[in-house]
C-alpha cells in the first residue's frame, strides 16, 4: 500500500518534466540542434584543425580558447592564426577580422523582418551566435515555416549546438596539435568545403542563382591576392550584382535559400 503511494508521488513529480518535454518550445530547440547536426559533423575537423594550427602558430591556450568562446567566427579565427604567425600588427589583425566577418551583417540584415518581433535582449545572444551554419539552417526553417511561433527556440537550439561543439573541438584540436604536430597538413578544411556545397547547391533554384554562384567562384579565385580578404568581399558584391541583373521576376518576393 505504502509502495503504491510512493509511486504516485514519483509519477506526480515526473509529470511536469514529461509535460515540458512535450512542449513545442523544447521540440523546436531540439529540432534546431538536430537540423544543424550535419553541419556540426563538418565543423568537427574544422574546429580541430583550428586548435592545432593555433598551437603550431604559437598562440597561447588562453587566446586560442578565448577566440572560440568570445569571437566565435571560424574562418576569421583561422586568418588570425596565420596573421599572428606572420607577426602582423594588431590593427591589421582587427581590421581583417572585421572585413572577413562583415558577411554576417548581410545574414543579419536578411533576418531583420523576423527579428522585429523579439525584444533586444533576445536579439543580442542571437546575433552573437549568428554563423554561416546557423544562418543556413534557420533561413531554411523560415522558408518552410514562415510564422513559426517557436522560431527563437529553434535558433537557440541550432546556435548552442554549434557553439558548444566549436568550443569543444577547438580544445580537442589544441590538445591534439600538441601530440600530432603535422595535423594541420591533413587538409581537414575540406569538411567546410563539402558542407558549404551541401548548403549552396540545393538553394540554386533559378538561372540568376547559377549566374550569381558562377561569378562568385570565378571572381573569388581571380581576386585571391587582394589584401586582407577584400577579394572575398568584392567577389560577393560582384556576384550579388550579377544575380540581380539576371533576375527576371522583378516583382517577386526574395527567395529564401
Amino acid at each position: 500500500m505504502q509502495r503504491r503511494y510512493a509511486w504516485r508521488i514519483v509519477l506526480l513529480l515526473l509529470k511536469p518534466i514529461c509535460m515540458y518535454s512535450k512542449t513545442s518550445k523544447k521540440k523546436a530547440f531540439l529540432a534546431g540542434a538536430w537540423d544543424t547536426l550535419p553541419l556540426i559533423v563538418a565543423a568537427v575537423p574544422f574546429g580541430i584543425i583550428y586548435g592545432a594550427l593555433a598551437v603550431a602558430g604559437g598562440l597561447s591556450e588562453a587566446i586560442t580558447m578565448a577566440m572560440s568562446l568570445l569571437v566565435f567566427a571560424g574562418s576569421s579565427q583561422f586568418i588570425v592564426v596565420t596573421l599572428v604567425a606572420a607577426m602582423a600588427a594588431a590593427p591589421v589583425i582587427v581590421l581583417t577580422v572585421f572585413i572577413v566577418n562583415l558577411r554576417h551583417m548581410l545574414y543579419s540584415a536578411s533576418l531583420m523582418k523576423t527579428m522585429q518581433h523579439y525584444p533586444q535582449w533576445v536579439r543580442v545572444p542571437l546575433a552573437f551566435w549568428l554563423t554561416d551554419e546557423t544562418f543556413a539552417v534557420v533561413n531554411n526553417r523560415l522558408a518552410l515555416r514562415a510564422n513559426d511561433k517557436n522560431f527563437v527556440w529553434y535558433y537557440f537550439g541550432s546556435a548552442l549546438a554549434m557553439y558548444s561543439n566549436w568550443a569543444l573541438c577547438s580544445w580537442i584540436g589544441m590538445r591534439m596539435g600538441q601530440q600530432v604536430p603535422d595535423l594541420s597538413s591533413w587538409g581537414l578544411e575540406v569538411a567546410m568545403v563539402v558542407a558549404f556545397v551541401g548548403i549552396v547547391v540545393p538553394s540554386l533554384h533559378k538561372p540568376s542563382h547559377w549566374v550569381c554562384a558562377a561569378v562568385a567562384a570565378v571572381s573569388a579565385v581571380l581576386t585571391r591576392d587582394w589584401p586582407h580578404q577584400t577579394g572575398l568581399l568584392a567577389s560577393g558584391l560582384f556576384a550579388i550584382a550579377a544575380g540581380m541583373l539576371f533576375d527576371r521576376d522583378a516583382q517577386e518576393e526574395p527567395e529564401n535559400v
Partner: protein, 106 residues
C-alpha cells in the same frame, strides 16, 4: 589589461557589431525592396566564393586537375547535393571521397 586581452576584446567587438547592428535596427527601419532582394543572394555569393577559394585554389595556385583532392571532393559533393538535396549525405560522402583519395594518394 594585457595586450592579448585588448586584442580579443577588439576582435569580439568588430565581429559582434556587424552581426548585431541589423538585428538592433529591425522594426525601426524598413529596408528598400531592392536591398531585400539583394540580400537573398548573399548566402549563394559568399559561400560559393569561400568554396572556390578552398577547392580550386591550393597553395595560392589555380589547380584544375585530378590531383586536387579538395576539388574532386567538392565536385562529388556538388553532384550529390544537386540530385539528392540531402546535406548529411553530401557531407559524409564528400569527406569519404577525400579520405580515400588521400589514403590511396591518387
Amino acid at each position: 589589461m594585457s595586450d592579448d586581452a585588448w586584442l580579443i576584446l577588439a576582435m569580439m567587438l568588430v565581429t559582434f557589431g556587424p552581426r548585431y547592428l541589423p538585428f538592433a535596427l529591425a522594426g525601426k527601419i524598413e529596408l528598400p525592396p531592392i536591398l531585400v532582394k539583394a540580400l537573398g543572394y548573399v548566402p549563394i555569393a559568399i559561400l560559393t566564393a569561400i568554396i572556390a577559394l578552398n577547392s580550386v585554389v591550393q597553395d595560392n595556385q589555380i589547380q584544375l586537375h585530378l590531383h586536387n583532392h579538395h576539388l574532386i571532393a567538392a565536385i562529388v559533393a556538388g553532384v550529390l547535393a544537386f540530385f539528392t538535396r540531402r546535406l548529411a549525405l553530401t557531407i559524409v560522402v564528400g569527406l569519404l571521397v577525400f579520405a580515400m583519395l588521400r589514403w590511396f594518394a591518387v
